[in-house]
Symmetry: C2
Subunit: 455 residues, 2 copies
């Protein structure tokens, strides 16, 4: 019996098991679900044991980590799977068509909180491993599962856990299925993510809100100062104007530019779906290049003075804004943060007081396209989904992926089985049955393909 035949035969049982996994309201953000979190972790640990792995629960400062492993052959490559068993809060409940924790299948979709993010996706790997183990009696690679319970609350405990357990987590490659396919008909491997780093800017003027009639024209209005500064964060060509911002940014390669051009992408449909009069960005780059392979700087919020109905004739005491920068590989979050701070200090008028709060960040990551790992992932998807995947990037950030790189020295394969339409973080989250099944087959195939890499 092949693993694929095993998967076919056990499809019903497997769906029942996934439903059980989905029924735990493992909402990490809410303390009232602490016991549900523990129950879910215990069930998952038992399940991993039942399929033949050694598994245990590791307590952390927050919700526990589930860890499991199977050592087949010390000379074979070791694969570290990362996923999470916690889910987003389901609210607003009134917008759900069915109970978020009572999974149902409607029109080929499994509806449940955590369906695609990330229980359904990580479970496909568990089932792929099970299929190979049951069919072959062993695995072609060594596997380790690291399934955390705090992904939806910024993975607060995980970096420390990884640092403390470097030896236990040692591997050759990380596999994560927590992204999406390119579209409902185009599976994909995501080989790059942008990093992110945040800062807050506070500009202070007079020690109280003052009358704009009495003082207007005599002191610098903090809103004017802040706006003038924000206005100088980009130049006329849409480039970030912070000196040295691009110093470590490598040009978009010819190969990548060619790949991106091949992707089905309807610029006009994209513009319409956003409702903007025109797209805009860094001169000389396409929309896909701008969001996947070029860094960006965005003010996420700005506030100052009177914002209610009508008017209030004041010069406010202060104005502030929140900034995030999206980084491409080789850009260092701290370095970029410092450059922003230096620039803002330089351009701030001397007639206001400037305070900058720098937050931590994560660098961008990319899996080398010339390495063997992506090829292996591509071949596995071909087996699982019946077609070659696209190789894509993602403008957003998964900070834990850079922790794997910096702490464990490992690249990560991002193989998304879900869809953007799967409503992760929204009501009526769903995961297509066909994608779950194709995902399980891909997961099984991946074990064999990864085994070839070191061979």
């Amino acid at each position: 019996m092949t693993p694929y035949e095993y998967l076919k035969e056990t499809a019903g049982k497997r769906m029942d098991e996934l439903f059980k996994f989905l029924q735990f309201p493992s909402v990490s953000a809410k303390s009232e679900h602490k016991k549900d979190m523990l129950d879910c972790a215990a069930w998952l640990t038992d399940h991993l044991k039942a399929i033949g792995l050694t598994a245990r629960i590791y307590p952390t400062g927050g919700h526990p980590v589930v860890y499991a492993e199977y050592t087949a052959d010390k000379k074979a490559p070791t694969v570290l799977y990362y996923g999470h068993y916690d889910v987003q809060p389901p609210e607003p409940l009134e917008l759900w068509k069915s109970d978020p924790f009572k999974p149902v299948i409607r029109k080929g979709n499994i509806f449940a909180r955590g369906g695609t993010d990330d229980k359904g996706q990580v479970f496909a790997h568990v089932k792929g491993v099970e299929a190979v183990l049951k069919a072959a009696g062993t695995l072609p690679v060594n596997v380790k599962f690291l399934i955390e319970g705090e992904e939806e609350v910024s993975s607060v405990s995980l970096p420390k856990f990884i640092r403390k357990n470097k030896k236990m987590l040692a591997a050759d490659i990380v596999v994560v299925s927590d992204t999406a396919q390119y579209s409902s008909t185009l599976p994909a491997v995501t080989y790059g993510l942008r990093g992110v780093v945040a800062a807050e800017v506070m500009v202070s003027g007079p020690n109280r809100d003052v009358h704009s009639g009495s003082y207007g024209g005599a002191i610098t209005n903090p809103i004017h100062a802040l706006c003038a500064m924000v206005g100088q964060l980009h130049d006329k060509n849409g480039k970030v104007a912070v000196p040295g911002f691009y110093s470590r940014v490598k040009p978009v390669t010819k190969w990548e530019r060619k790949q991106f051009k091949r992707l089905p992408f309807n610029q006009e449909a994209y513009r319409k779906s956003l409702g903007v009069p025109a797209l805009a960005g860094e001169k000389g780059y396409s929309t896909i290049e701008r969001t996947w392979s070029r860094p960006a700087l965005d003010v996420n919020g700005i506030t100052g003075g009177y914002q209610g109905e009508g008017g209030k004739t004041i010069i406010p005491s202060w104005a502030s804004c929140k900034i995030t920068m999206r980084l491409v590989p080789d850009m260092d979050p701290t370095d970029v943060s410092n450059k922003l701070e230096r620039y803002l200090k330089k351009i701030a008028p001397k007639s206001v007081t400037l305070k900058i709060k720098k937050h931590g960040g994560a660098p961008g990551v990319v899996v080398p396209m010339d390495g063997p790992w992506l090829d292996a992932a591509g071949r596995a998807i071909k087996v699982g989904f019946g077609k070659n995947p696209l190789f894509i990037k993602e403008g957003g950030s998964i900070p834990i992926v850079s922790d794997f790189k910096t702490i464990l020295g490992l690249d990560t394969l991002l193989i998304g089985f879900g869809l953007h339409e799967g409503n992760a973080h929204s009501p009526n989250e769903s995961f297509r049955v066909v994608d779950f099944e194709n995902g399980c087959r891909t997961a099984a195939a991946l074990l064999f393909e990864l085994a070839k890499v070191k061979a």
Copy 2:
């Protein structure tokens, strides 16, 4: 008996009457005080009748207007007094040292809501007229009192009332005591006010807040667009950069510049009291010139995106700000508003949608320094306060003063008996007994001085 002797003799009775006037909680902003407003207006009308004027209450769409007059000699000049019997809400009550509507004298100050704004000040004119009438049996000028009940709610009904009663209100000069002396030892005549005009700016981007990771770099962030626009509202020399903004602005005259330099003004104390690192404004002008004789533009509030604790990685759907411009004489509010709109439309990126809401405004006003009215006011203050007044301006606006100019064609003498320290609009509002007494004497003297103008 002279009017001044009369005032001296009746000081006790006069203070009792002022206390009665101050006891009405005539809070125009709150509907629960509607009856108090009517009671206060009735009391004031009766009082004006009692001192020998014809008086009546005029209903309006809102709180009634109290009108009184005395015709002495049709050939004599006619003086129109403007004031208001309504007061600001007294809240927060816990910060008052005594009941805001139970006047008390502590250390030479009358503490009560409305003490200085404006019951105490307008009552000084009522008492000045009474003193002259009692002492001389008639008045050297004709007088008209227009005392409204909606000044603290933007004089909503008054412009219409003035337009409807142009003939009744016809006069040669308006007298208003609703400003302040320059300091506690320096009485003043205010001969100019800045006008004001307001606008709101809304910049829209994507049709919803979008993820700054996925979209950052591909669309124009409405906050960036708005900030860049606000950043272009002033040039490097602190001038307003709206084309044509200064086209009707006359230069500060040599005479005025000289007068302002003579005023006791401590730049460093001013800076310290505001807590700013440095003063700043239009190059080539002093602080007093910047606030009294030059126009200004201020953003009173700005808002957009996420403003709570922590961060949220979005590009917001929109950003907006509220703007007011302070105008000097000859600048037309509508014209300036249109220029701002034209400029903003020109500099807005084509990748966002811009909406501008223009509000009404009032032009700046100035009483000609070469006319006889200011001289007359100066001489009256010399009689009342024992020293020559300073001639000053004010950066704020009293829109009704421009209505007197535009509807009735009349200049206004702004003779403030109060002090900036009198806490108008704040808890523990007060009016110095000595300023009330000097005000009454000034009011009496003013009748004789104004009578000389047409003589």
